[in-house]
Amino acid sequence: MAEITLKGLAHSYEKKPTGAADYAIRQMDHVWHQGGAYALLGPSGCGKSTLLNIISGLLEPSEGDVLFDGQRVNELPPEERNIAQVFQFPVIYDTMTVFDNLAFPLRNMNTPEYRVKPKVLEVADILELTPLLDRKAKNLTADEKQKVSMGRGLVRDDVTAILFDEPLTVIDPQLKWKLRRKLKEIHERFNITMIYVTHDQLEASTFADKIAVMYEGQVVQFGTPRELFERPAHTFVGYFIGSPGMNFMAVNHRDGQVMFGSQPLPVSDQMKHAVANASSTNASSNNIKLGIRPEFIAIASSEMADSVPILVTSVQDLGTYSLLTFKLNEQTFKARLPEGHPPVGETAFAHFDAAHVALYIDEYLVEAGHE
């Protein structure tokens, strides 16, 4: 059983990092609780795989500590960490049969053969590999190979955490869904901590109970898929989660109004207050943004209460909803219209749902005190 704690962790591939840009992982603290299903979500090159390799021990962090149940394991090699890792491309031992592949980690630990066999059969059964046990692993399909790689992690009784590094990249879309379900099933059956690295938000939210979103070497938000959607803690999370991502407006406070360029925005009084506060205290940085998800923008042809005039540039019908692109103050916005929404002309009006307008100062969410 293991609770994985990262304490003041940072990593750089340079020998002598000179600035923040040299760090693949910037100073971070994080706890992965025993038995959780987690996803590590982020764009390519944000440090996800680096972080995973540090947890598994393939990489030694340049700063900070990795703790398993409070024990420092920085210097422990992967073979002594009781973790398993599944890689992006299936790793199988070509010349061995599927059975021997699955038995390999057990045999490396000198497990007696009478205990190897039942364990391998059990895992093969869970992964539906039983009919393939006698086949050479070399001739399997990509998804079968990936199941074999996962199976090698599952056969060991001492494994307390399995790390997945984008394991479904090479799998066909229909099979992806099946394998993800399988993973979920395995997670429920064995009390194993699972950390799943992906850049696909759908994959992350179907697999994980909690998602850590990584951006530029840092975890910018750690929460349930719902929290990530409803209250993005960082502008990057707003932009990265949801399709399309959140709309952001750089605003300032002028004459008792929240101004987006020359356009006063109709926002709640609390929000006006918060923006006013931020403008006065953060005068130097002046990086104040309002964010609103495309789902919470209402569009109508005629003027509504608290609405702003907009210029509609296009409407895309995506089946169950339409995606409307419009311009406000020369900036492009996206709004999601429900099915059967009355058509709008080139000029229309947009209403931002005040409860879902979020305030970001220096890219991080600030609670404006409404709701």
Binding site: N53, S56, L58, P77, P78, E79, I83, A84, Q85, F87, Q88, F89, V91, Y93, D94, T95, M96, T97, V98, F99, D100, F104, P105, N108, M109, L133, D134, R135, K136, K138, N139, S149, R152, G153
Partner: protein, 295 residues
Amino acid sequence: MNNKVPNNRAWLLVLPMLVLVAFSAIIPLMTVVNYSVQDVLGPNARFFTGTEWFQSMLNDDALQAAFLRQISFSLIILAIQIPLGIGIALIMPKRGWQASAVLILITLPLLIPWNVVGSIWQIFTRGDIGLMGWGLRELGINYNITRNAGDAWATIILMDVWHWTPLVAMLCYSGLRSIPEAYYQAARIDRASKWAIFRYIQLPKLTNVLVIAVLLRFMHSFMIYAEPFVLTGGGPGSATTFLSQSLTTMAVGQQDLGPSAAFSLIYFLVILLVSWVFYTTIMNMQKDKPPHGGA
């Protein structure tokens, strides 16, 4: 799914290749076949002999002895060069300037012409001025390649190992470099020992380059001529007379065109047969065995 339309016009596409192969291989080979079944006494005097030359060649004691020597030589150098080549490839540096430096150093022997290799070793092993010959003699070892068959053999093998192991090492090195890092990482997580990593990851991934290495080295060594000819001249006695030297003596020295043609064909077929058998066996080993029994 199998509803192919028979279309014999495709043969036309093979025709250019066939013409090319005819001129590069078949026609020259047929002239040899032509000689092998005739006794040519002069420009206008030739007799058809059938398989007579083939029979006499196969029953020739000297040739049989040369054949045995040739086979032993090829097997010995393969047994040394393949494991040694793999071993060198495994310990070669993987990146940085050291990798380039070692690659260049290792490749040098491959760039030296056969005749020169023979000459270098001929001088190297001389008792009076050669470093190795003189050194061994100073150490009290009675080393003399012109007198002791054992010394001659050991020297030729050493020379061939020196000249050609780099080829095996380089092929293996390229094979090893193509193994993705994830394999080594997965092996560490699976707690594989060094030996297990070699046996189940590196060696299987090297199979293809090793097949090429073995084939190349077998064919090369089976045809070896210039190096032992320059070094020992086939001696002492006929201790290091290999097949191609026997052939040269017969064809060029004695102008026995019929027998040497027959001999050449047998020689060629032996190489072809061994290579084919070896290749087919290896390729069959990689297929799934028909299911039988448990795992």
